[in-house]
Structure formats: structure tokens, C-alpha cells
């Protein structure tokens, strides 16, 4: 069934090479996008919990904006709109980035900042799930608010939210496919291109689907490993902020709220 993938294309490659290039872009986008999302998300998530009203409002505004605009629209804003509204030279410079980088960078920024808003909510949930005594104990020891966050609150909160972050990892790798709308030839786009070139739609989409399934499995298993490694002994994970699963009530201490039964 997958034989056609090993046939020669017009440009002297094999169709499977097209798929693998697509996979490369998908992975690059998901991997680097994830680290942007994680860095920004942790900062914004902390911002939502601090005493300073102004910072908290700013963080909330960030989350509201990035969560309530569809990711495809955000993609268009970064790709089409941003170069137009930046002052002349800078905008032109952005437009002149050669393909495929010209689509890769806007897609990377878009996915990173979009996912960051979701991670920020998870981080906030993790911080709020910590008992108040932690902050009070840190105060009693004379730690400044900054040191309290750095050494007491954030490390514990991050260990609590690993299970909920799993659904964000799955989210970002699935959302990479949206980049095809701004011309990045990632996995789904390559599958469509193969189906148009060979008329073997079933094979082309089937291969892409298999690859996505394997990726989902790897992402899920590695997050499970991370969770097992960093789980605070005797703790239950923080509630998933985005899908506040009822599962917590059902199975106290279950590894994951729903969302993750997906790939079992």
C-alpha cells in the first residue's frame, strides 16, 4: 500500500523524502515553539499571581487576547499584517526573508505565543494549588517575594503541572499543521502535495496519520516519564486549568485528567 512512497518524483527525489522534509518542519516548529511557549508562559503565569495589580492585569490581558483569537487568524496577523504595520524598512526586511524561513518564523512566533497563553493558565493553576503555608513559611524565613517565587513556589508549581502540560505538548504539535495556510510545507501540506501528484490519497494521508500517531505516542510517553521523575512524592497533580477535568474527583492521584486517554 505504501509502495508509491518509494517512487521517483519529478524532482528526482522519492515521495517519502517529501514526507520526511515535512516531518522535519513539523518537528522543528513544535520543538522550538514549545520552548518559546514555555518561557513566555511561565513568566505570564507568574504575572497572573503576583500582588502588583498592574502586572496581574497585563498578564490577564495577554492571556485573554491570545486565547480568544483563533490560531489561524493569529497566523495571518503575524504573516500578512505585521510586516505592513511595522515602519517601512523593518517591514520590507521581514517581507524579504527568503522562503521557507519567511513562513517558518511567523509560524514559530505565532504558535509559541499562542501556546504560551495556555501554559500561563496551567502555571497559574499550579501556583494556586500550592498550600498557602509555603508562602508563609518562606516569609517567616525572611525570603523576599522574588526569592520565594524563585526557590519555593515556581519549582513546586512546575512539578505539579507536568500532567496538564502534556495536553499542551499535544496541542502544539497538532497546531503546527495550521502553518500550511501561510505556505510552510510541513507534514500535512506534504501529504496533500503527494496526494495531488500521485492520486494515491489514501496512502498519502494514511502515512501522515501514522506519523502523527507515533508522534503523539512519543510525546505522551516522554511526558509520563518526566512526570514520574519530577512528581513531588505524595502529591496529586494540579487541576488542568483548560480542561478542568472531573477526573480528579473520580480517581484521586490518577496520572492525568482526561485528554490523555487518547493514546493509550
Amino acid at each position: 500500500m505504501f509502495g508509491v512512497l518509494f517512487e521517483q518524483t519529478a524532482d528526482g527525489q522519492r515521495y517519502i523524502d517529501w514526507l520526511l522534509t515535512g516531518l522535519g518542519w513539523t518537528l522543528a516548529l513544535a520543538f522550538f515553539g514549545w520552548w518559546i511557549a514555555f518561557a513566555v508562559g511561565v513568566v505570564v503565569g507568574i504575572g497572573r499571581t503576583v500582588q502588583n495589580r498592574f502586572v496581574a492585569a497585563l498578564a490577564r490581558l495577554y492571556v485573554e487576547i491570545f486565547r480568544n483569537i483563533p490560531v489561524l487568524v493569529q497566523m495571518f496577523l503575524w504573516y500578512f499584517v505585521l510586516p505592513e504595520i511595522l515602519p517601512g524598512r523593518l517591514g520590507d526586511a521581514i517581507k524579504q526573508i527568503p522562503p521557507p524561513w519567511g513562513s517558518f518564523f511567523p509560524a514559530l512566533v505565532c504558535l509559541g505565543l499562542y501556546t504560551a497563553a495556555r501554559i500561563a493558565e496551567q502555571v497559574r493553576a499550579g501556583i494556586e494549588a500550592l498550600p498557602k503555608g509555603q508562602t508563609e513559611a518562606a516569609n517567616a524565613l525572611g525570603l523576599t517575594p522574588h526569592l520565594t517565587y524563585r526557590h519555593v513556589i515556581v519549582p513546586q508549581a512546575l512539578r505539579l503541572i507536568v500532567p496538564s502540560l502534556t495536553s499542551e505538548v499535544m496541542g502544539i504539535y497538532k497546531n503546527t499543521s495550521v502553518a500550511l495556510t501561510i505556505g510552510l510545507m510541513e507534514l500535512t501540506a506534504q501529504a496533500r502535495q503527494i496526494s495531488e501528484a500521485t492520486f494515491q490519497t489514501f496512502t498519502a494521508f494514511g502515512a501522515a496519520t501514522l506519523i502523527y500517531l507515533v508522534l503523539a505516542l512519543i510525546a505522551y510517553q516522554s511526558m509520563m516519564l518526566i512526570d514520574r521523575a519530577v512528581r513531588i512524592p505524595g502529591s496529586t497533580p494540579a487541576k488542568d486549568a483548560i480542561e478542568p477535568a472531573l477526573a480528579d474527583d473520580v480517581q484521586p492521584g490518577a496520572a492525568l485528567p482526561h485528554g490523555m486517554e487518547v493514546v493509550k
Binding site: 485573554e64 487576547i65 486565547r67 480568544n68 483569537i69 483563533p70 490560531v71 489561524l72 487568524v73 493569529q74 495571518f76 496577523l77 500578512f80 499584517v81 505592513e84 504595520i85 511595522l86 515602519p87 517601512g88 517591514g91 499535544m170 497538532k174 497546531n175 503546527t176 499543521s177 495550521v178 500550511l180 495556510t181 500535512t188 501529504a191 496533500r192 496526494s195 490519497t201 489514501f202 494521508f205 501522515a208 496519520t209 502523527y212 500517531l213 503523539a216 483548560i242 480542561e243 478542568p244 477535568a245 472531573l246 477526573a247 474527583d249 473520580v250 485528567p257 482526561h258 485528554g259 486517554e261 487518547v262 493514546v263 493509550k264
Partner: protein
């Protein structure tokens, strides 16, 4: 940098409005189909019906691990073939992008809603089932009158949040060249060249609708939390 000119909106509005109506219609249809089908899926798994429940479980796992755009492509290709086998002589029956979108979103969302309801079903106190048995309710009546209403009520904030995500996801029908809100804007942008204004307006409309809806869900959740019906 050209100065922004939002006066073109006056002309563009009727077309954008019809696009928005399409997005909303798709959301509502996918919600109804998704909830009905999702409830069936959840019940099938809850009763652990042999074979069917394994099939449903793999369907849900599959749908939830591949991107929606790929699912749209799959259905655009598969549905005519399946229909051809069902109703015709095996020749594919083309159904067009609009029907593809409605069918795909209904079936796709069913996978997500069913997970929510399945977890909700597990959260129902065992005593509820036992009380129904004591009252000699039939299985059908137990679920229709006692269990499902509670599940829907407990899960309603999550179901509504999922529906807001669904509304945002309908913008992906852009890949089928349909005229939803974003599709309308992008077609107009190609005609009049004012793509900056068009995409900014679309982003504002989505932002306004989604954040208003999330505020409602949040207040619903707060009110529900005060009621303290569960936990």
C-alpha cells in the same frame, strides 16, 4: 506603511456578516451533532459494549491525536467514496466543501464531547444508580431522567469552554475555501487589497465573541461552585 482605512468596512460588512453567520451555523450544528453522538459514544464505553466500545475508543484516540486540518482533508476525500458505496454503484458522490465541513466538525467534535461526558459519567455517585434500582427504574429511564441530566449539569462549564474552542476552530474551514468569517475577509482582502484592515477586524470580532462567551462561562462556573452540588 499605508495609513489604515476602515471606511471600506461599510461596504464589506454585509459579506463579513454572512460569513459570521456561516461560522455560527457551523458551530451550532457541530455542537448539536457532537453532543448527541458524543453522548452515544460515552454511553457505549460506559456500558463496555463488546467490540463497539473498542471501535469507539480507537476512533476517539485517532481523531484526538491528528490535526483538525488533516481530518478535514480526510473527510473531504473519504465521505464521497463512502456515500458512493452506501447509495450508489460504488462511484464517489461529490458532496461539496460545505457538507464536508458540517459532517467533519460534527464527527470531530463528537470525539471531544464524548471524553467530557465519559469522565462526567464516572463522576456520578454510585448511590444514584442504586437509588434508581431501588425505585425500579428501567436502565433507559435511569440514564435519561437521573444520570445524564446530572452529568450534563456538572460538565456544562467544560462543555461550553469546548464549544468556544469549537467556534474558533471553525475558522480552519479556510483550507476548504469556504466563506466563513475568515474566508469572507480573505476573499475581500484579495479583491480590495486592504488585507491589514480585514484581518484586524476579523481578529477583533473573534476576540469580542470568544471573550464575551468565556466571561459567561466563568460566571456560570462561579455560580455553580457556590451551589456546591458536587464534591
Amino acid at each position: 506603511m499605508n495609513s489604515l482605512d476602515f471606511s471600506i468596512l461599510v461596504q464589506a460588512w454585509p459579506y463579513l456578516w454572512s460569513g459570521l453567520l456561516f461560522s455560527l451555523a457551523l458551530t451550532v450544528a457541530a455542537f448539536v451533532v457532537g453532543m448527541l453522538l458524543g453522548t452515544c459514544f460515552a454511553l457505549v464505553q460506559h456500558f463496555e459494549l463488546p467490540v463497539v466500545s473498542q471501535i469507539v475508543r480507537s476512533y476517539i484516540a485517532l481523531i484526538r491525536s491528528i490535526p483538525l486540518i488533516l481530518v478535514l482533508f480526510w473527510f473531504f476525500f473519504l465521505v464521497p467514496i463512502v456515500l458512493g458505496h452506501l447509495y450508489g454503484n460504488g462511484r464517489p458522490i461529490p458532496i461539496g466543501a460545505t457538507w464536508t465541513a458540517f459532517i467533519t466538525f460534527g464527527l470531530f467534535e463528537a470525539a471531544y464531547y464524548s471524553e467530557i461526558i465519559r469522565v462526567g459519567l464516572r463522576a456520578v455517585n454510585k448511590g444514584q444508580f442504586e437509588a434508581c434500582q431501588a425505585l425500579a427504574l428501567s436502565t433507559f429511564d435511569t440514564y435519561r431522567c437521573v444520570i445524564l441530566p446530572q452529568v450534563i449539569r456538572v460538565a456544562s462549564p467544560i462543555i461550553l469552554s469546548q464549544t468556544i474552542i469549537l467556534f474558533q476552530d471553525t475558522s480552519l474551514v479556510y483550507v476548504l475555501s469556504l466563506t466563513d468569517l475568515l474566508g469572507a475577509a480573505s476573499k475581500l482582502a484579495q479583491l480590495n487589497g486592504r488585507l491589514v484592515e480585514m484581518y484586524l477586524v476579523v481578529a477583533m470580532v473573534y476576540l469580542a465573541i470568544s471573550s464575551a462567551a468565556s466571561q459567561c462561562v466563568a460566571s456560570l462556573r462561579r455560580r455553580y461552585a457556590l451551589g456546591g452540588a458536587h464534591r
